[in-house]
Point group: C2
Chain length 218, copies 2
Amino acid sequence: MKQTKISEAVVRRLPIYLQVLNEMHSREIQTVSSQELGYKLDLNPAQIRKDLAYFGEFGRKGIGYDVQYLIEKIRQILKVDQTIKVALVGAGNLGHALCNYNKYSKDNMQITAVFDVLPSKIGSHINSLKVLPMSELARVVAEQNIRIGIITVPAFEAQNVANQFVEAGVEGILNFAPAILRVPDEVRIQNADFTKELLSLAYYLVREGEAENESDLD
Amino acid sequence: MKQTKISEAVVRRLPIYLQVLNEMHSREIQTVSSQELGYKLDLNPAQIRKDLAYFGEFGRKGIGYDVQYLIEKIRQILKVDQTIKVALVGAGNLGHALCNYNKYSKDNMQITAVFDVLPSKIGSHINSLKVLPMSELARVVAEQNIRIGIITVPAFEAQNVANQFVEAGVEGILNFAPAILRVPDEVRIQNADFTKELLSLAYYLVREGEAENESDLD
DNA sequence: TAGATTGTTAATCGATTAACAATC
DNA sequence: TAGATTGTTAATCGATTAACAATC
């Protein structure tokens, strides 16, 4: 039974909580308060408590949160308590990089199949995975129970690849191509296009020749 | 003279507008209404008009927006009407991938220097750029007027690299490492950690063995 | 018991959307 | 002129923060 709809903002904070908690766990810290977490993350402690409270009562009044227990709970909420299999299309540099980050394994996310549209790439290897042709996508996704697709092809191919992922039945797509993808509502799209990140970063630069001092007005 | 403080949400939408407008421009579309843009981007037309109105009056009543003119204006706002130089630390797979995307050049963002902490990497080449040791960072950033730093090193090195970027005087950092970086307020940090993207994507998966049908309640 | 800290309600703040006069 | 669409104000919606009773 789902509680009141959880907002995206909340969901996007959960992995950050997890990151800090993991780091604390590795330093053998047993217990943490929302205040300490808030300080580390630059977030309001009330927000952290509220976020967690959407999913249950994980803390103890007067004490705080048990680090290990909270990790476990957040992993359950994010569904990374089970292994989740991922397929990647686009065996270029970026695809390579992501495959090497199979340190996700710590988070139970595993890239277990790699595809490419280019004949020249097919049959080559990334780590121990053979690059397969797109014609194999549907079969492999079904057989391996792959639930998430990653797109690292050029923008003009991205929609086509997305269509094939949807057709194959993935539930979510992580898209690195600088393209706006159309998929059915039941498939979740997450965009991770760093060209846009760079552009929005540029906004905060100080225009050359402009006073850098913004504190001259109070 | 800055208008009322522009919210981050607005700034993050500007690159998306730019992307769609560029695509329209390449198809030789002259004019676009907020309604059409809204449809393409799945955004409320009023929001688009409001976003743009923060920066000036770019449209014409009864007509819409001139595509080319609006592109020009958004590029000015984002400050990519000038060339912005970028340095990258971490000549691994991901660093490689980003360098190859020097198709940013279209957006006037250029990676003009690459560094690494590992002696084994130093002296090798990425495209035409030689990988330099960190000891050169401050000098090169100053000499080339580099304003943005990209971090693609492992998490445990990231803070150290960030410190050196700050020291060298960059104004913004794009961080790909799964680490929370502390920098002075005047330096802008943008996180682009796809491990977190993947985790939040997992949240939207349907738990195995759970009914997928969410429409049984109205 | 006194001190700390949660979970939660109420207050505030900010962002999105609707509505419409202005005008091309 | 009639139709379209902006820029902007007002209304709504949602997210963040403050405050505090409950309780460890």
